[in-house]
Symmetry: C2
Subunit: 340 residues, 2 copies
């Protein structure tokens, strides 16, 4: 029935009390008589009183809102991260304002400005691929708003970081290929930025070196957009080499799917002739045939951890405790399937 929203004032007037008294009664202050407390509570219930979060936020200079900037929502890995963020935020009593940069630094800057003006209590961000400076985030630090970066990070601001062990994941993948007898292992890698692509490339090199295999630069192909089409095209090129590879490690499952198509089209068998390994363990990996071996990265957990750290920093700051910056690295896991 309450057409308009009911405030403390309304309750106070009806009861012939003062706003302050009503406020205290509802917050169970010790210096209010049990009787008035009861009266106030009863009427508050009847009138469906609900405190105005806005007023509280203004008063307390705290919004209980976390800002999130993510490159792409429609992405199996990132949607897992978001889910982890939202669940943990809820657990800690925060809400989540979600934005996407669409892998564009320009839009990332815009969203950052917006979130800052919304007075979020903290920021969770995974950088866009072409983000090459973090100046747009400096203002958060100046305003004392904690930042936690995840997945695609930049350590130069001294913020807490949450990443997965890309290098080790790639290392395990390639080592597995070597142990199953492969010697001519190609790598279809991601672009020079972001960092994640470099780390996976390093892991690949680590494994190759450790095994004493010679590194063949012809076997390295660099994706620009990390698409299925690129996977297909680069694989086609690889198969035309005088010594075609007997295994391919791809930066991403999607790229691996492209590779899979090219390999089949060329009449080779997987894994007999050419083994294939992807990265990320998307929902697609287990359902293609042959099922794709892939490096699983714990997206949900990444979201949870990043949020946990961020809220801890926010609350430490409020309690004037020293904030401990953290940099955590989550374990990746090789899921071996039929393709290798």
């Amino acid at each position: 029935m309450a057409k308009t929203t009911v405030t403390l004032k309304d309750i106070a007037q009806r009861l012939g009390l003062t706003i302050a008294t009503v406020s205290k009664a509802l917050k169970d202050y010790p210096d209010i008589s049990p009787l008035t407390k009861a009266n106030v509570r009863k009427l508050a219930d009847e009138m469906h009183y609900s405190p105005n979060a806005l007023a509280l936020k203004l008063r307390k200079r705290k919004t209980f809102v976390l800002g999130v900037i993510i490159p792409e929502i429609v992405h199996h890995f990132f949607s897992n991260v978001i889910s982890g963020i939202i669940d943990m935020a809820e657990e800690r009593g925060y809400n989540v304002l979600l934005t996407q940069s669409d892998e564009s630094m320009e839009r990332e800057i815009k969203e950052a400005k917006l979130l800052l003006s919304q007075r979020v209590d903290g920021l969770l961000i995974s950088l866009a691929n072409n983000t090459d400076t973090v100046d747009h985030l400096k203002e958060f630090q100046e305003m004392g708003v904690p930042i936690v970066m995840f997945d695609k990070v930049n350590g130069s601001m001294g913020t807490s970081l949450v990443q997965v062990d890309n290098r080790n994941g790639a290392f395990l993948a390639v080592k597995h290929l070597i142990e199953s007898g492969r010697r001519r292992i190609a790598h279809i890698r991601g672009p020079i930025v972001p960092q994640t692509a470099n780390e996976r490339h390093k892991g690949y090199c680590d494994a190759i070196e450790e095994a004493g295999l010679k590194t063949n630069l012809e076997y390295i192909r660099v994706c620009k957009d990390v698409t299925q089409q690129e996977g297909e095209e680069f694989t086609r090129q690889l198969l035309l080499l005088p010594e075609p590879p007997d295994a391919i490690f791809c930066i991403t499952d999607l790229v691996a799917i492209g590779a899979m198509k090219a390999i089949k089209d060329a009449g080779y068998r997987i894994p007999e002739d050419i083994a294939l390994v992807g990265f990320s363990d998307w929902n697609i990996a287990a359902v293609v045939s042959p099922a794709l071996t892939s490096v699983y990265q714990p997206g949900y957990e990444m979201g949870q951890q990043a949020t946990r750290i961020l809220v801890n920093e926010i609350e430490a700051k409020e309690a004037k405790l020293p904030v401990q910056r953290q940099s955590i690295v989550l374990k990746t896991e090789l899921k071996i399937r039929a393709s290798s």
Copy 2:
């Protein structure tokens, strides 16, 4: 350098002006001298002044925030919807507070309460599967907060609705099977709620009837959780029938993938022996082999449209214009691939 946030007051003091004057100067009121305007603006820039959104929201009793409740974020279709919501919200100048119900009515109720207390300007919701009443949303209406439901909706509140044409999509899928010569068409359907599953089932029946085929109840299987496992298990059962089907229409691509496995395991060929069609056109549909025929539903567009309608209702209400409830149905599209 600005350690603490800068307010109108700070600017006013430095310039020996009053808060009111500064406020007006920044908002380009006609009754402020060009000189002071210039001075104020200059200093505001230098001090990196940014209006406190909280204060504005309190003052204007408007948050520019849309609340979103979605069953599952980690879901290819829904993540597309979210992306559409966020992009359109940004275009119209709103932010998005995202929550997930995890397909639980209990959590849905909780999130609704939370969003209401956050004073969102409007609500976008897709109901959880087991949500059988909408009492928890009544309060939004009482408070005059517009609601738009999408995908899994309930028309009983008289809110605007955005859906896809599930019935016609299913109809087209089954008609396509019939036209390619299939006569014994099975349907692995979803549970009795939500409505979407029923509509797809109806579309199936429509096509069967139109073709004058006899309906065989043995050919209908009802999923409980709509999983790949269920698809596999039900298909196995179907293949054991005296007259096994020569085509299967599945409620979801994931279920179809399960069916695909069972069919292959039983030694049948797709599509020669048994044709297969899914629904949703997930990212997985195009990459499995044989590639899966599926009914595409425009998730991104659904998010955009729902948001557009919601913002229109919000702004119509503010302008005291009559609000036009809308119910729109987006077209689905059959993507024919190798499996049929």
